[in-house]
């Protein structure tokens, strides 16, 4: 579920005013726990997910897990 689009490089964390960095992030759905590379703020750790990722790959994984 690795994701990096051109768009997100322009985004900053508004709270910390820092540029986002690609990092390993833990995600969870139903009984599935795994690590993926996502953009996040290195200070406060908030993770950035854009529309294409949420409605694309992420939804696909969710549906896959729901049918398990």
């Amino acid at each position: 579920m690795k994701h990096e689009s051109n768009d997100q490089t322009k985004w900053l964390c508004d709270k910390c005013q820092r540029e986002l960095e690609l990092a390993k992030v833990k995600v969870r759905y139903m009984e599935g726990n795994f690590e993926v590379d996502l953009m996040k703020c290195p200070t406060c750790n908030q993770v950035f997910i854009d529309e294409a990722l949420a409605l694309g790959k992420m939804k696909e994984v969710e549906e896959g897990l729901e049918d398990k």
Partner: protein, 790 residues
């Protein structure tokens, strides 16, 4: 879930059953396939099908007594298909040189065949092919027996000679002029492993097993005319073939009787309704044999009998290309999977649970019940995809929360005494009703959740009408009957809901419920049979309509009955009486009343598979040129959203001045919430004259939402309150991302089991919403929280 019972139901489905022509053909020629090949002009493929099933197809194809033709369903619509003539044409145009078959070593046993007629030759050839050493005892000096009587135009002497020579050329021993009598038979029975008796007559009566053709438990087997007591050639050949099967089973020491119930002629359970087919007369031959073109044309008359009644009526079964038997096999598979993907989930959640399949089925098989039970089982086993019904269940929770739910007795006489003055007391039925108040609630008006969401302004009018017209006090009860929980297979939630309704009913001293929503009617019938219910529409018919002069333009309407009312014929009549009384003409749809279809909302398919829901909508609205008339809020909303002019009965009974009601758009999901809350506020304020306890919506941000974003918000099941919550959190805590190039913000908030994201720009005091989306997956941020505020 009882899977054995499930599979039994699947086995009862007659979709896969053979047509009567094949069942009545003693050798089961696959006639539908045979005719399809001819239709396509593939005479050689048709020939192969004859070769596969018909012993001596070159002979029998020309002289068959065709028991397949008389029962042909086409006989009821023009005349039976001329199968026999088509076989002759196929032998003419599709024959090819047989492939050379290398004989097997003859080491499986020795079989004597008495009688070189059609049945004996069939047994001989079949056993020879399987590797038995076969010896024929023929009393005359040639093979073929009575086949020689058939020599004529169709079958020439030359052809018969050729076919008989082919047998003689095989490694089969033939004794001509060999008369076998009782004594000789006894000898043969000791010399050979098995004996087949295929003579036309025998010295004394012989009793054979009707399935195995075995005489007692001896090594003697019988067939042909002696057994059949008929001169049918195809029956003779069939019995020879079946005897060969018995002999092989006997000599291989396996059961002679296992799964042989469909050998020879049998009655197919298939039922077929030909009434919708246009009669077509048989194509007449212009010569002794059909020309290719004539044959193709004749084959085209075949209706390919197969029961597809439920499939034809149901856009869900058609979309997934499923017959009930196949569907049930998939469910069975899905229920048994322990590890792996449940591929059938989407399909199971795409059924509207409308019940038309059962109505159409000759055998009353209800896929509705099967699928419903499957959903309950999925929920119990924790295998129901949450996303399928989550929104609908949250919507139900909303309706049963204090934001909508309400129970009130009719305002008492004491509370209403300020209304009892002239002229009100003389001219307002409502006030007269209040004046007659007894304090005992005879009726409880239960409008459901979707009607108030779609028709918020009419609920008060209906309530006042009821107080003014029915005998006895009328209370009100706002809430959701639980239909979403039922459709979602959530038995626990459903039972909780039912108990809550029962409690109110008991506390109110068991009043009659007045229902206006077809889903409520279905739910009350299914789960609350002890509660007496009346439909609002029945009451309008009994007590008279509230308004006069409502009609704007007289026109003809087609009535779409709500699928939840399928069994309720009184209700169907009431609706028609109201429509007629209002001055409209009625043109019935093909699928109407007990055979009505679903609008595309039922079974929560609207939430679980929007594409499937759209298919329901577009099929139904395409069935009439007329404007539609419905009496379920969801039917109206879905049809209008599909682009069809549709009236709800309330549009006609309570006409509005503003706008065209037949094209009035469905309220958004958020508006549905707001409308329900508004109904509660209006009723409390204007009927019970209570001060509302809570504001509908307070301190909200002002949002500017472009049309395309609005549509996405709807399609993604996102509510305005979700957006407001995201913004509130972002503004308060700066928990958001910013894009210095564009000035945009992107903020998120986890609410319950969903994370909502809003991209926006601030414009002075308002927020321009650029996009909204959500996901269910939880992001575990390092500090341990998941981006939520809880």
């Amino acid at each position: 879930m009882n899977l054995d019972k499930l599979l039994e139901t699947g086995d009862r489905c007659i979709h896969k059953e053979p047509p009567t022509c094949t069942a009545q053909c003693p050798v089961h020629l696959e006639i539908i396939d045979f005719l399809s090949e001819i239709e396509k002009g593939n005479f050689q493929n048709a020939y192969k099908l004859m070769e596969k099933k018909m012993p001596f197809h070159n002979i029998i194809g020309r002289i068959c007594d065709h028991p397949c033709e008389a029962p042909c369903e086409r006989s009821k619509a023009g005349g039976s298909i001329r199968i026999s003539d088509l076989e002759k044409a196929v032998l003419e145009y599709g024959a090819y040189k047989p492939k050379k078959v290398w004989p097997l070593p003859k080491n499986k046993g020795k079989v004597a065949i008495i009688g070189g007629g059609l049945s004996g030759l069939t047994t001989a050839i079949d056993l020879d092919k399987k590797g038995y050493s076969v010896t024929i005892f023929e009393k005359t000096n040639r093979l073929g027996g009575r086949l020689w009587d058939f020599v004529g135009e169709s079958m020439t002497e030359e052809l018969l000679q050729q076919e008989m020579k082919a047998i003689a050329d095989k490694k089969i021993t033939i004794h001509f002029d060999a008369t076998v009598d009782q004594k000789r038979l006894a000898e043969l029975l000791t010399e050979y492993d098995a004996v087949y008796l295929g003579t036309a007559a025998w010295e004394e009566p012989i009793e054979a097993n009707p399935v195995t053709f075995q005489v007692g438990d001896s090594t003697l087997f019988v067939g042909g005319q002696l057994l059949n007591k008929s001169d049918s050639v195809i029956l003779s050949a069939s019995s020879g073939r079946r005897a060969a099967i018995s002999i092989e089973r006997y000599l291989s020491k396996v059961s002679l009787t296992d799964s042989r119930d469909r050998e020879g002629v049998f009655e197919t359970p298939l039922q077929f309704d030909i009434t919708s087919k246009k009669p077509l007369l048989p194509i007449e031959k212009t010569a002794a044999i059909y020309s290719r073109e004539e044959a193709i044309e004749e084959a085209q008359r075949c209706v390919k009998c197969q029961c597809r009644k439920c499939i034809e009526g149901c856009v869900h079964l058609r979309k997934f290309e499923m017959s009930p038997d196949a569907y049930i096999r998939q469910i069975n598979h899905s229920e048994r999977i322990i590890l792996g993907t449940h591929y059938a989930n989407k399909m199971i959640n795409s059924c509207a649970e409308c019940g038309l399949c059962k109505e159409e089925c000759f055998l009353d098989i209800s896929m509705n019940d099967v699928i419903h039970e499957t959903r309950e089982s999925m929920v119990q086993r924790g295998k129901m995809p949450v996303s399928a019904h989550d929104f609908a269940l949250k919507d139900m929770a909303f309706s049963n929360s204090s934001r909508f739910s309400l129970v009130r007795k009719q305002p008492s006489k004491e509370e209403s005494k300020d209304l009892f003055y002239y002229p009100l007391i003389s001219f307002s039925d409502y006030v007269k009703g209040l004046y007659k108040g007894t304090g005992k609630t005879e009726y409880l008006f239960y409008p459901g959740c979707q009607l108030p969401a779609s028709y918020p302004d009419d609920i008060k009018s209906i309530y006042e009408y009821l107080v003014g017209h029915v005998k006895g006090d009328v209370g009100i009860y706002l809430g959701c009957c639980g239909a979403p929980a039922d459709w979602a297979g959530q038995q626990g939630l459903m039972n909780e809901n039912i108990e809550a309704i029962k409690k109110v009913w008991t506390e109110m001293e068991q009043p009659t419920f007045i229902l206006a929503c077809s889903s409520c009617i279905r739910i009350f019938e299914k789960y609350l049979p002890e509660i007496k219910v009346e439909s609002l529409w029945d009451i309008y018919v009994r007590e008279g309509l509230p308004n006069k002069d409502h009609i704007k333009i007289p026109q003809t309407l087609s009535i779409h009955d709500a699928c939840g009312t399928r069994e309720n014929s009184d209700l169907h009549e009431s609706v028609r009486k109201i429509v007629a009384k209002l001055g409209y003409g009625i043109e019935e749809l093909e699928y109407t009343k007990e055979k009505t279809k679903c609008c595309g909302y039922g079974g929560l398919v609207y939430y679980a598979n929007r594409e499937q829901s759209n298919a329901f909508v577009s099929e139904r609205i395409g069935e009439s040129e007329n404007d539609l008339l419905v009496y379920c809020a969801m039917c109206k909303d879905l049809f209008v959203s599909g682009g069809k002019r549709t009236y709800h009965l309330l549009d006609l009974i309570y006409p509005k001045d503003e706008g065209e009601s037949a094209t009035r758009k469905m309220p958004t999901l958020s508006e549905r919430h707001q409308n329900r809350s508004r109904v509660k506020q209006i009723l409390l304020k204007e009927i019970w004259r209570e001060e509302p306890l809570e504001g509908v919506m307070e301190d909200n941000f002002t949002l500017i939402i472009p049309e395309d974003v609005k549509k996405n918000i709807e399609d993604r099941y996102i509510l305005m309150e979700d957006i407001q919550a995201v913004l509130k959190n972002a503004e308060a805590k700066n928990e958001r991302f910013c894009n210095p190039d564009t000035g945009e913000y992107l903020a998120k908030l986890r609410r319950d089991n969903v994370t909502f994201w809003v991209k926006y720009e601030k414009e002075e005091e308002s927020f321009l919403i650029k996009s909204v989306y959500s996901h269910r997956m939880e992001i575990l941020e390092e500090d341990g929280n998941s981006g939520g505020t809880k």
